[in-house]
């Protein structure tokens, strides 16, 4: 397709210039759109960043420009968050709950995903879809009966109740993603490993798992994010301050009656939001490919 009806060199030159101009315009449009999208998405956080360092007299004056410092910036409220509130306890709770939940998810999810991806049974496809649908059963439907269940096993008001329950959210979606990643690994790998004397199970553990590490890492990040964001179970099951996680602790403990600790609240939002988004961004491409691979029949 070298000729698109170009008759003369002059005509070709004219066409080339028209395309160049159009291309330049498209670039400008793209950059504008990208900057606009970034600003809209990040606006509340950018503004939180300013608010977090404001003095009370600056903040609580509706005439002051909310986007800049009208009085000198102060780190007091940020320091207050770290020193005088249970914020660090919340962060720690979220962290260890997330870590344990991710571990449980992998221990239960990896073998399940391998079974569905490779040990082809007649029911494999249907089972994979069934497990995925569990992800669509929302906490809203289950929190009442689960909170009774949690009380029955004696975990009410304990962070451990979240360790018990959160894998119900992470396992289905992780299995779905892992099936995709595992299918992408050539079958020859296991066959060769079994020729080398590994059992079927040994081939999975020693030959397939190491190759699946990039996908596993992406799943870890995704599962951790889901865990950190969860709100309903955390709110329904756990009420003592020291047992709370970030997502419930910050909105409930930094508000006393009608008094909001606004600057500290904003600081907390930023401190939690940025690292998660940062790590997530690192693995975004892998997650995107995981979404598609899970949907492709292997």
């Amino acid at each position: 397709m070298a000729t698109v009806g170009v008759s003369s060199p002059a005509e070709a030159e004219r066409l080339r210039r028209r395309f160049a101009r159009r291309h330049a315009l498209a670039r400008v449009g793209l950059y504008l759109a990208a900057v606009l999208a970034a600003l809209v998405c990040a606006a509340p956080f950018l503004w939180s960043l300013v608010t977090a360092f404001k003095q009370n007299r600056d903040l609580y004056n509706p005439e002051n420009n909310p986007f800049s410092f009208n009085l000198a910036a102060t780190p007091d409220h940020v320091l207050y968050l770290f020193r005088d509130t249970a914020f660090l306890t919340f962060v720690w709770n979220t962290f260890w709950v997330g870590t344990l939940v991710v571990a449980i998810t992998l221990v239960l999810g990896l073998p399940a995903a391998y079974s569905l991806a490779r040990l082809d049974r007649r029911w494999s496809g249907r089972m994979a879809i069934a497990i995925f649908f569990v992800y669509l059963v929302p906490p809203t439907l289950l929190f009442l009966s689960l909170s009774r269940l949690v009380a029955t096993v004696g975990l009410q008001d304990s962070t451990w109740s979240l360790v018990l329950v959160y894998p119900t959210i992470t396992i289905p979606v992780s299995v779905w993603l892992l099936i995709g990643f595992l299918k992408a690994i050539p079958k020859d790998v296991e066959e060769q490993a079994m020729v080398d004397g590994y059992s079927r199970l040994g081939a999975f553990v020693w030959a397939v798992l190491p190759l699946a590490v990039p996908g596993i890492v992406a799943v870890v990040v995704f599962a951790f994010t889901l865990t950190a964001s969860e709100f309903i179970y955390a709110l329904a099951f756990v009420s003592p301050t020291t047992e709370k996680v970030v997502s419930t602790g910050v909105p409930t403990e930094l508000i006393r009656g009608d008094v909001f600790f606004w600057q500290s609240l904003q600081a907390a939002a930023i401190v939690v939001a940025v690292p998660i988004a940062f790590v997530f961004n690192l693995f975004l491409d892998r997650l995107v490919s995981g979404f598609t691979m899970g949907a492709v029949k292997g």
């Binding site: 990208a34 509340p44 903040l59 509706p62 909310p66 073998p111 669509l136 269940l149 598609t292």
Partner: protein
């Protein structure tokens, strides 16, 4: 690697230890590896689900957790409450409006994110923020953005001469509804974009190039090549958006607690307020159960879309 052959342990099977033989039997392994996950899900999803249905036919409360059969009385009590109908209507309004906006904006955002440009990494980081941040925290950030007196949005509007006084974003029914929808859309659009990106990346490059060579412009390619080919993925993104909006109560709970006067109350938040805060477990369960038939319909629709995607 067709020449790679391996012998299934047949002849020398007896010589091997029993454990080893078990680890080689695919039929056994397929079940053994799947079972723990299935048992866990049955115990903590299927059982509570059945329990939730049982609760809605009972008179269980937080103070009196013994089970008594109440037939349809709990449902009648739930349906007699005008707040329930209000919540049901609000839930639909939220879901439909948010879903439409999420899909359109998600598609635009996905197109931006698959393009190549400088500073893409930073843009992506900022764009991901709404979705990766724990929703309760971002809702708190919005709570301050929408404050009745100190809202910076009001400040900007005042200084542009478009507003006198304050909007009271969360204090008036219509504005409160719009605010909650806006926060939902803001939060879920990046997720929709990521799902749609997966579809865009999967389109073979040569189809797009062929259309380009044939002289199709941006809009023509978008409308006649990209959108038809990504339609199943867009459908998946739409349904995810719908389900996550439909069942979510966090944004409503943190921003308005359903107020003013239940004008932003949704089924999920109403179930929580009745079931946990009010202690009326039976009624909370009954209200939450109304979400289920609609979820089921959405799930079947997703399944259809995914099936079509596999054909693609």
């Amino acid at each position: 690697m067709a020449e790679v052959t391996f012998e299934r342990p047949g002849a020398q099977e007896d010589a091997r230890p029993a454990r080893r033989r078990l680890a080689d039997r695919e039929g056994f392994l397929a079940w053994a590896m799947l079972l723990p996950a299935v048992v866990y899900i049955v115990a903590l999803v299927a059982v509570p689900f059945v329990l939730a249905i049982a609760f809605s036919f009972s008179d269980v409360t937080a103070g009196d957790p013994t089970f008594h059969w109440a037939g349809l009385r709990t449902f009648r009590r739930a349906l007699d409450d005008p707040v329930f109908w209000r919540s049901l209507r609000n839930t639909f309004v939220f879901t439909v409006v948010s879903m439409a906006l999420i899909v359109v904006l998600g598609k635009v955002l996905a197109n931006i994110l698959v393009a190549d440009f400088r500073g893409k990494w930073l843009v992506r980081l900022l764009v991901l923020l709404p979705w990766t941040t724990p929703v309760a925290l971002s809702a708190v950030a919005w709570l301050w953005m929408l404050d009745s007196i100190y809202s910076p949005i009001d400040w900007a509007l005042r200084h542009l001469g478009l507003l006198d006084g304050n909007v009271y974003w969360l204090g008036r029914p219509l504005q409160a509804m719009a605010s909650v929808i806006a926060v939902h859309v803001w939060r879920l659009t990046p997720l929709a974009a990521v799902i749609i990106m997966a579809g865009l990346v999967a389109i073979p490059k040569d189809i797009d190039e062929a259309a380009r060579v044939d002289g199709a412009g941006f809009w023509r390619r978008m409308l006649e090549v990209t959108i038809p080919l990504t339609l199943p993925v867009i459908a998946v993104a739409a349904l995810f958006g719908a389900i996550l909006t439909f069942t979510d109560m966090t944004v409503v709970y943190v921003l308005t607690r359903g107020g003013p006067t239940n004008s932003t109350q949704v089924l999920a938040s109403w179930a929580f307020i009745r079931g946990i805060e009010g202690g009326d477990v039976a009624q909370g369960a009954a209200v939450a159960l109304f979400l289920f038939p609609l979820l089921l319909a959405a799930a079947i629709a997703i399944l259809r879309a995914v099936r079509r995607m596999e054909v693609l």
